[in-house]
Structures are given as structure tokens and as C-alpha cells.
């Protein structure tokens, strides 16, 4: 047992070590136990122009890393959405009245305005759990479950990924599989595709619940090119089947000469739509192929992250995405990260501005602006900093601008003089905080 003057031992030892090593007083040790959990939290606010959608979203990602590179991550997200989105009907120079999705009342759209659906409010909860671990020396697996809940939509999913390192760990190849099963219970029931919008109280155009399944397969390879450069290539295949129609989207039935909505005759005392509208109809399957290339290039502290994605599907949509980020350190613990993203897509084969009265109905038709021909640009800037505690904060602001064109060959009469495609501007603001416990 060491007894006397125990408290001075460390100090005497420090002095003795100093003279042994013959150097000046060493800088103080900085060692701390790695936190058991790493938390990444983010608060995101997304707001669209013209009083359309706003979404406040809270995300928490908790990750525990164990000594031998096994890790568990748990995610939780809570979203509260409110606002209105374009419903698919064309704008017109007088007031339009439409039946709400619930079938219990109507709402009116002012003259010359792009018809938006009745204001909605929704909350969404999402959770996921993933487990990652090495398998032997060269393989690793990542497997997880996910689920999300909205009042009219439930998603459950499972994913699995197997990776293998080659070539002295300079190459990693992976195969990923994911399966999702989604159930929809839309307000008022899922509409029968292309059924007409009916009077308040008449639900004969609706069925009950619907569902869809999605299978994804991703084949990827990551290659270290040099000390400063990393390249990732992947191909993904996605197959969706089931009810892929958006239950809240409609099309206007228009006059073949004027292009104006066809007025609807209301029975005396009845409450219902002022014009002829039909619910949209999409194929019950969709197959997508995506090709993705990404490179990260490190230049003395700065990192350029550039990626390109090409997607093509059997609905006739081709899209191109170019994403550029540049991480630019300022001093020791701060950085700026400008972000630029270009997106361009062609319209779906069944994208229609409107349905023409008197012409046989097509099998599939949708006026959802997200299936139209549009380009989008995102410009953003992120500023991040590390606190003395080692915790990290970042703030990000992004502007999103989407410009679309209605297909000219589909425009009829007065439609040529109106803005038929609803453009979209949005602002995204995010604050993130990362800490350990």
C-alpha cells in the first residue's frame, strides 16, 4: 500500500517526467470516453410560395457504435404538414366549385386561380432501426426495418445490404434489397380510377382501402481512385405494384373547342361540383431503372462532392439530376458548404392537362404536376461549426424553383392563353445539432 502524500504523487511524477524527457511542459491530455450514443438531430422547415404547403419536420438519428465496428442506428421523424397542393384541375376565368375528398362538402376556387385542394393538415411519424456489422474480414451487412404512419397512409419496409471489400479495401461492392408494403386509407375512400367527381353525399365513385408493394434492388461499387478521390457507381431497379394512383388528384373535362371546363348541371337542392371532373388513373405497376455516379474529391481541406443520376421508367419519365456540393473549411472548426442541384424530367406518357369531352377516355391519365415536364433548380448554403465540446451545429438555407411546361400539343382554345402548369417556389431552412451522450 502506498501511503504518504498520495495527492502529490501525480504532480511529482509530472515534474520528474519533464526532466526525464527534457522537453517543455507538455500540453494537457485530451482524452474522453467515446460517447455510447451519437445523436444527430435536425429541425427542418419547408415552405412553398403562394401559400401552398408548409412542413415542419423534426428528425432524430441515434447511433451506437460498438468496439468491433458493429453499430445500431435508430431513427425517428415527426412531420407536421399543412397547406394545399394543385389538385390537377385547370384554371378558368370564373369560380369553380369542387367536392372535397371526404365527399361531405364542397370548396370553391377563385377565377383564374390554379385549383388547389382544400387545405389539409397532416402529421406523420416515421421510425427506423438498422443494424450494421462486419461479417468476417471482408464482408459487412446492414439490415433494418422502417415504418411510417399518417392518418391515411401506413408504410412498413425492410432492407438488407451486403458489402464486400476487394483490392486491399480500395474497392467495395454491394448489393442491397428493400421491400416496402404501403396501405392507403384515403379520406372518403380511394376513388375508382377515372370516375367522375360526384355530388356531396354520393360515394358511389369510391372504393375502400388500397395498397401497394415496392421492391428495390441496388448494385453498387465504390472505388478509391487516389488518396484524394473516391468514386461510387450504382444501378438500382425499383418495381412498384398495386394502387399507384394519387387518390386526391383529378383532371378537368374540357370543351374540345374552347378548352374550358365543361359545366355540370346540378339537380335542384343538390350540392356538388360546378364542372365535370374525373379522378386520375395510373398504371398499377411502375418499373424504374436508375444509374448513379458520384465522386468526392479532396483538395487540401476542401471537398467537392459531385453526383449525377439518370432515371428512366416505364411510365415514360426520364430524369437527370446533377448535384454539386463544395465543403469549404474556414479556420479550424467552421465550414461553408454551397449546394447546387439541377433536376430535369420528361413527362409521363399519360400526363394530360385535361380530358377532352366527347373523346373516349384513355386507360390512364393524370394531371399531377409532378408527372409533367419540368426543370428544377436548388441553390443552397450550409454553414457548420464545431463547439468546444466537440458537438457540431449547422444551419442550411435552400431555395427551390420548379418550372414546368404544359405540352403544347395538348393545349386547346383558351388554354393557350392561360398558365396551365403550376410552377413552384419553395424555401428550405434546416438547423442541425449533433452531440454524443
Amino acid at each position: 500500500m502506498i501511503r504518504k502524500n498520495r495527492k502529490s504523487i501525480a504532480a511529482t511524477l509530472a515534474t520528474a517526467t519533464c526532466s526525464l524527457l527534457g522537453n517543455s511542459i507538455p500540453e494537457p491530455v485530451q482524452a474522453q470516453e467515446e460517447p455510447g450514443w451519437d445523436f444527430n438531430t435536425a429541425l427542418l422547415y419547408y415552405v412553398e410560395g403562394d401559400d401552398r404547403v408548409d412542413d415542419l419536420s423534426l428528425n432524430v438519428l441515434a447511433r451506437k457504435t460498438f468496439l468491433d465496428d458493429r453499430s445500431l442506428s435508430l431513427g425517428f421523424a415527426f412531420d407536421t404538414l399543412s397547406g394545399a397542393t394543385p389538385v390537377g384541375a385547370v384554371p378558368f376565368d370564373s369560380v369553380q366549385t369542387l367536392t372535397r375528398a371526404s365527399g361531405r362538402s364542397t370548396y370553391s376556387v377563385p377565377a383564374d386561380a390554379i385549383p388547389l385542394d382544400a387545405t389539409f393538415w397532416d402529421t406523420r411519424y416515421a421510425i427506423h432501426a438498422n443494424w450494421q456489422q462486419p461479417l468476417g474480414r471482408l464482408y459487412s451487412i446492414d439490415t433494418g426495418l422502417s415504418a411510417s404512419f399518417e392518418y391515411d397512409y401506413t408504410h412498413i419496409g425492410a432492407n438488407f445490404k451486403l458489402s464486400r471489400d476487394f483490392n486491399k479495401r480500395n474497392t467495395t461492392a454491394s448489393i442491397g434489397l428493400a421491400f416496402a408494403s404501403d396501405d392507403m386509407d384515403p379520406e372518403g375512400g380511394a376513388p375508382v380510377p377515372l370516375a367522375p367527381m360526384l355530388d356531396v353525399g354520393d360515394q358511389s365513385n369510391k372504393t375502400g382501402d388500397e395498397s401497394k408493394d415496392v421492391i428495390d434492388v441496388v448494385l453498387g461499387v465504390t472505388q478509391v481512385i487516389s488518396r484524394n478521390m473516391l468514386v461510387q457507381l450504382s444501378y438500382s431497379f425499383s418495381d412498384s405494384s398495386g394502387y399507384l394512383t394519387d387518390p386526391y388528384k383529378i383532371l378537368t373535362v374540357v370543351d374540345p373547342v374552347t378548352g374550358d371546363p365543361v359545366p355540370r348541371v346540378l339537380a335542384p337542392g343538390a350540392e356538388g361540383p360546378s364542372h365535370e371532373y374525373r379522378f386520375e388513373s395510373r398504371p398499377d405497376s411502375r418499373t424504374k431503372h436508375s444509374f448513379y455516379a458520384q465522386t468526392k474529391y479532396y483538395m487540401s481541406g476542401k471537398v467537392l462532392d459531385a453526383s449525377y443520376r439518370f432515371m428512366t421508367d416505364d411510365w415514360g419519365i426520364d430524369s437527370h439530376t446533377v448535384d454539386l456540393r463544395y465543403r469549404w473549411p474556414v479556420g479550424e472548426n467552421k465550414y461553408f458548404e454551397p449546394h447546387l442541384r439541377f433536376y430535369s424530367q420528361s413527362e409521363a406518357d399519360f400526363y394530360r392537362i385535361s380530358l377532352v369531352d366527347g373523346v373516349p377516355l384513355p386507360s390512364y391519365a393524370s394531371a399531377d404536376y409532378r408527372l409533367g415536364d419540368f426543370d428544377a433548380l436548388t441553390v443552397g448554403l450550409k454553414y457548420g461549426w464545431t463547439l468546444a465540446s466537440g458537438n457540431e451545429m449547422s444551419a442550411r438555407i435552400e431555395l427551390y424553383k420548379q418550372d414546368g411546361d404544359a405540352p403544347q400539343d395538348q393545349l386547346i382554345g383558351n388554354q393557350l392563353t392561360r398558365e396551365m402548369y403550376p410552377d413552384l417556389d419553395a424555401i428550405i431552412a434546416q438547423f442541425s445539432y449533433r452531440f454524443g451522450r
Binding site: 504523487i9 522537453n23 485530451q30
Partner: protein
């Protein structure tokens, strides 16, 4: 050093990385050659074969002997670089072989810092006595390497000799190196602690694989040089963080020498430590 010696560096310049490696390996071999008790002809061999003659040592050896003297005093005689000869009697091989008490007592005649004569720069050992820098040589070598590396570059480096390590360079806020402390005997290494070391030294004392078991009593390999018998109640391992690897290693060793009171000792020193029992 009896263990793998490595240098980890953030250098993004291959030439610099090569130079740092050369510096570290040259210094490791220099310290090994000079202070290993297993090599013939070095200063330690000369001292241990001096047969009562006085040996004049150079400044570096003298500094280490001064340091050993300080530790001997700080530990009330429990840290003793002359205790190595006791190791000839004890075989910590997991068996139940413990030495004969008479043998231990007669060997104790050759143990004890107070029995030698150290008048810098002259050292005289009684015949039959030996010294062994094994208890501090590795930590010293790590710190020596760190001093040379820090003089060459401000880039973050980690010098690691078999788990005794020191981090140099980088900014005060730079992300640390992740260092895992294994649980002895736990082959899967899934428990233990994960430490982020940004700067300074980290050293571990304890080797749970070295023990003897007799009549249900487990004798760890840390010997009490005043009795010749193992210290009782030592933790399986003690890891300490300190400004230098040498300080960390010595505090870990002193904690071990405190046996069952290891944690209490470390608490009093107000250092960060991780004990496994």
C-alpha cells in the same frame, strides 16, 4: 519493446509520412538496443554483469535512473527496477506453480533500490543484483518518439507501442483518435471502453493472462519487491490518460501496486482512468 510498434499519421504527404516513420523506427530501435535487458553488450548488460564494480553511465541512463529513484520513493519502495530477478522464481503461466518461500526470501537479498549505490553518474550494484528498465522503457520510448515527431511536424500523429500510446499535433479541437481498451480474456473484444484521444498519453498496465492459481488464490504478475510475492487484489487492467505516456504508464503501474485500492489511488490523483476488474 516486445510488442508491435506503430505510427499513425494524418500526413497527406507521402514523403513526410516516410520521414516520420524513419524517425520513429530509428528511435524505437535505439531505445531497444540500449535498454533491453535481453541484449548482450549494452549498458544494461554491463551494469547487470558488473559484479560489484562501479559503472559510469551517460546522461540518458542517468536520467532514467534518477526517474526510477523518484518512483521508488513515490511508491514507498513498491516500484523498484531491481525487482526483475524475482521474475526468475515466478512463472506466471496459469499453472499452480508457486515458488518455495525460502527461495523467495533468499532472492530478496538481491532486491531493493536502497541496496545499490547511485551517485550520478556512477552506479554500483552489489553482486547478484540486476536492474531492468522494462517497467518504464516502453512508455519512455513512446514519449521519445513523440518528442521527435512533434519537432518534425504539426500534423496529427499517434505513436502506439503495444497499447501504450501518445497523440501529438493537430489543433486543440481536432477530432481525436479512437482507441479501444480490450477486456482481458475476452477474445471477442466486444466489451471494454472506446476512448477518443486528441492529445497526450494513454497507457495500460495489467495482463490477465499472466497469473498463477494455487489453492483457489489467484496471484497476478505484479510482484511486491519488499515481500517477493504478488500484490493481492490488483485490477485485471488499469488504463490511465495523462499528459505524457510515461506519466500515464507510471500512474497505471502505481495503481496496480496499490492492489485493491487502485481506484482510490487514481481518484486521489485526479486523473482519467479506466479500471477493469
Amino acid at each position: 519493446m516486445g510488442s508491435p510498434c506503430e505510427l499513425l499519421t494524418d500526413a497527406d504527404d507521402e514523403q513526410l509520412a516516410g520521414q516520420l516513420l524513419d524517425i520513429v523506427s530509428a528511435e524505437a530501435w535505439r531505445v531497444e538496443d540500449k535498454f533491453s535487458r535481453y541484449l548482450p553488450g549494452n549498458i544494461v548488460a554491463q551494469i547487470n554483469n558488473s559484479d560489484g564494480d562501479t559503472i559510469k553511465v551517460d546522461d540518458e541512463v542517468a536520467d532514467l535512473l534518477d526517474f526510477a529513484a523518484t518512483l521508488h520513493q513515490l511508491s514507498d519502495g513498491l516500484f523498484d527496477i531491481t525487482s526483475g530477478v524475482l521474475g526468475k522464481l515466478w512463472r506466471f503461466d496459469g499453472s499452480d506453480n508457486i515458488p518455495d518461500a525460502n527461495e523467495v526470501n533468499s532472492m530478496l537479498a538481491h532486491v531493493g533500490w536502497e541496496k545499490l549505490c547511485w551517485k550520478r553518474p556512477q552506479l554500483t550494484l552489489a553482486p547478484g543484483m540486476q536492474i531492468d528498465f522494462g517497467g518504464l522503457g516502453k512508455e519512455y520510448a513512446v514519449d521519445r518518439a513523440a518528442v521527435l515527431v512533434a519537432a518534425k511536424t504539426e500534423t496529427r500523429c499517434l505513436v502506439n507501442y503495444g497499447g501504450d500510446l501518445v497523440a501529438t499535433g493537430g489543433s486543440a479541437r481536432a477530432t481525436g483518435w479512437r482507441v479501444g481498451i480490450e477486456v482481458p480474456e475476452d477474445e471477442s473484444a466486444r466489451a471494454g471502453h472506446l476512448i477518443r484521444l486528441a492529445r497526450g498519453g494513454l497507457a495500460t498496465s495489467g495482463d490477465a493472462r499472466r497469473y498463477v492459481l494455487r489453492n483457489g488464490v489467484r496471484y497476478g504478475h505484479i510482484l511486491n519487491p519488499t515481500t517477493g510475492w504478488p500484490i493481492e487484489g490488483t485490477p485485471r487492467s488499469v488504463t490511465v490518460a495523462a499528459d505524457t505516456c510515461t506519466q500515464a504508464g507510471m500512474l497505471a503501474t502505481l495503481a496496480m501496486l496499490n492492489g485493491a485500492a487502485a481506484e482510490a489511488f487514481l481518484d486521489e490523483q485526479e486523473v482519467r482512468y479506466w479500471c477493469l476488474r
